[in-house]
Amino acid sequence: MTKPETTAKAAQGTPPQDHASGATKRTGAEIVWDVLASEGVEVVFGYPGGAIMPIYDAMHQRPIRHVLVRHEQAAAHMADGYARASGKVGVCMATSGPGATNLVTGIATAMLDSSPIVCITGQVSSTLLGSDAFQETDITGVTLPITKHNYLVTRAEDIAPTLREAFFIARSGRPGPVLVDITKDAQQASTAVDWRAREVRLPGYRPEHQPSKEELERAAELIAAAERPLILAGHGIVKSEASHLLMDLVEKTGIPVASTLLGLGGFPATHPLSLGMMGMHGEAWVNTSIQEADLLIALGMRFDDRVTGNLKMFARKARKIHIEIDPSEINKNVTVDVGLVGDLRRTLTQLLPRIQQRTCEPWVKHINSLKGDSAVRDIQYVPSNGRLHAAHVIHDLWWLTQGKALMVTDVGQHQMWEAQYYRHDHPRQLITSGGLGTMGFSLPAAIGARLARPGEELWVVVGDGGFQMSAAELSTCAQEGIKIHVAIINNGYLGMVRQWQQFFYENRYSATTLHNPDFVKLAEAHGLAGLRVTRREDIPEAVARARAHSGTTVIDFTVEKEDSVYPMVPTGADLGDMIRRPTEGGVTGGSTPWNSGAV
């Protein structure tokens, strides 16, 4: 990287139709809403407080919906969920000090998963900055490492240009969170500056790169020459809306596709060449085929340690092509033969005409032969002895929703079971916290996703631990009249940590047992519906009742307490070196309708 690629210039935002003309003076607070409207914002998630009161006061009679959260962390997750579900920028608001610091986990979550959100925080008046004033924190300092960029605005004139930059930065290039901290006096001051006339100019910002013809040719040559090629599909497929191009690539070449957790849905799980998830909890034969491949085509993914296992042993037989929008990801974890820096959709569009038609039949046949005893070890086929397993719940949800529901998960065992047993066929069908692994993410993210996509069936899959980290947002569901279905996978443990304690700490269950409230009563206390399911045969009726209910339903699925997620690559181990589910349970085969569609 020796030369700057371009002088980035933002596209003009859509000019507001009806207000903000230069002729009349407007307060900073009013300008905030003018800009949000001009950026096409439909909903803002937030919580008022002293230092952001002028903005809340200026909210009256705006066309933008405001959702009052119960904790600011949830506001950031909602904005994130909205962004992931819609592909647009999510917006959240909080006051200064504790309001702003409560956003931090949500911002970090959005950062690690490249989710475009704009966070607007109130700040104490500029005259008080740095004086340890009431509810003052240096939130730009605090969020510096977890935002794509952030701003402190102290003048009303700067609010509009800054917010426009913030939206442009959040959504362009590799998306991410941008925080704009606005002092109270800037919100209150009036200005007549016509901000629409000023173009956004960010000379140091280079959101888009383009691979050279030579690099594209080289990639095409490697694809033509490979005998055992494999596509690794990441989040970029979803973010760049490149699914159809991935499908074109697969149809032209017959190359099988393994997905990262966040890449699930980017390629249809029910496609014959879809291998499903790879990595720490990927199927054994998927990971083995990665280790045996002679070419990896990594699309919009970043070789996270949960995907690669031990880097020294990762895919040693394979040449690697990496297509990625962020230049700093090339050769960060895995050294590649060809690194194509650019937007995935654009790069695949350029690459596809250079790709020769081919097939990979012997290789695909070989991969299928690696499946071996995977089915035997599948919990679907292990006799349940009347006990309810989390995998049953997920599998049956997949069956009963015909694989079409918008799924939002929390973090932990249930998240991995969801990834393994729900088959996602569509981009943006699975919303989950991958990079940061944020417990408490799912319920608020689902509220955001619900507002982005009001018409779709939406299920939250959440553990009993994660649910309690943001259960207060049930109250938000009730107040906003939001209908979502919450499936608590309740095993009375912090299940994933318990599993690690079982595997790696000789069954010493340290602080992983949970005493839970009655989740059914908790839902009812919020005026919502609550159900409890303890037997697999009761799942269909519970799902039917949840669907029939007009509002949010919480279903407490009381499941087997000490189930573990298999297979598992221990941290730092070779990707092919997996802990498998013990087979002593024997095989029952697919005799129930629930089993007929299983792996």
């Binding site: 990287m1 690629e5 930065i169 000379p203 140091g204 050279s212 700093s328």
Partner: protein, 182 residues
């Protein structure tokens, strides 16, 4: 793996509050100990220049450069270790010197082409501009005399040749990005 060695980065940045913090935060996060850091304005209004020296291997240096580019306020980055660079540093050194030892101090000063800029009955203050090595050398020979106090600016560096690092950037018209150099 290439050896760990001193790497010099020159970051041309927008002259705004907090930008230096963003730049060094990137090194802090990765637990680099910064050997030297220099920041000041340049010939262009609103653009400052940061010269930063750290120990890193080739791969780390490449990633640091790529990550510097991700900062919105960073306009242009040069990693000048491998190419021809001129690096200079300024030091002010206050040394003990009485009537007997003063001439010896001034002689040493001569050899290094340092200048005496302040003299008291018991001390001399010297000013030296040169490569960081040369400054190390002068400090070494002065140490037996008794160094009272010293300050160094840290290296400032510039690539050799007639080009300006920023000219291309600021003259590039906005629009479609050009093809990336291989």
């Amino acid at each position: 793996m290439s050896p760990i060695q001193q790497r010099t980065f020159i970051a041309h940045v927008e002259d705004r509050p907090g930008v230096l913090n963003r730049v060094i935060s990137l090194f802090r996060r990765r637990a680099y100990n910064i050997d030297s850091l220099n920041v000041a304005r340049t010939e262009r209004s609103a653009i400052s220049r940061i010269t930063l020296v750290v120990q890193a291997d080739e791969r780390e240096a490449r990633l640091l450069e790529a990550n510097l580019y991700k900062l919105i306020n960073v306009l242009y980055v040069e990693h000048v270790t491998a190419q021809g660079q001129v690096a200079r540093e300024l030091a002010l050194i206050k040394v003990r010197a009485n009537e007997e030892s003063r001439s010896k101090v001034l002689q040493l000063c001569e050899v290094f082409r340092a200048r005496a800029i302040d003299v008291t009955p018991t001390s001399v203050m010297l000013e030296l501009t040169g490569t960081p090595d040369k400054i190390d050398g002068l400090i070494e020979v002065l140490r037996p005399q008794g160094i009272i106090e010293l300050v160094r600016t840290g290296a400032v560096a510039m690539a050799r040749g007639a080009e300006s690092a920023l000219a291309d950037l600021l003259d590039t018209p906005p629009g479609e990005p050009p093809e990336r150099a291989a």
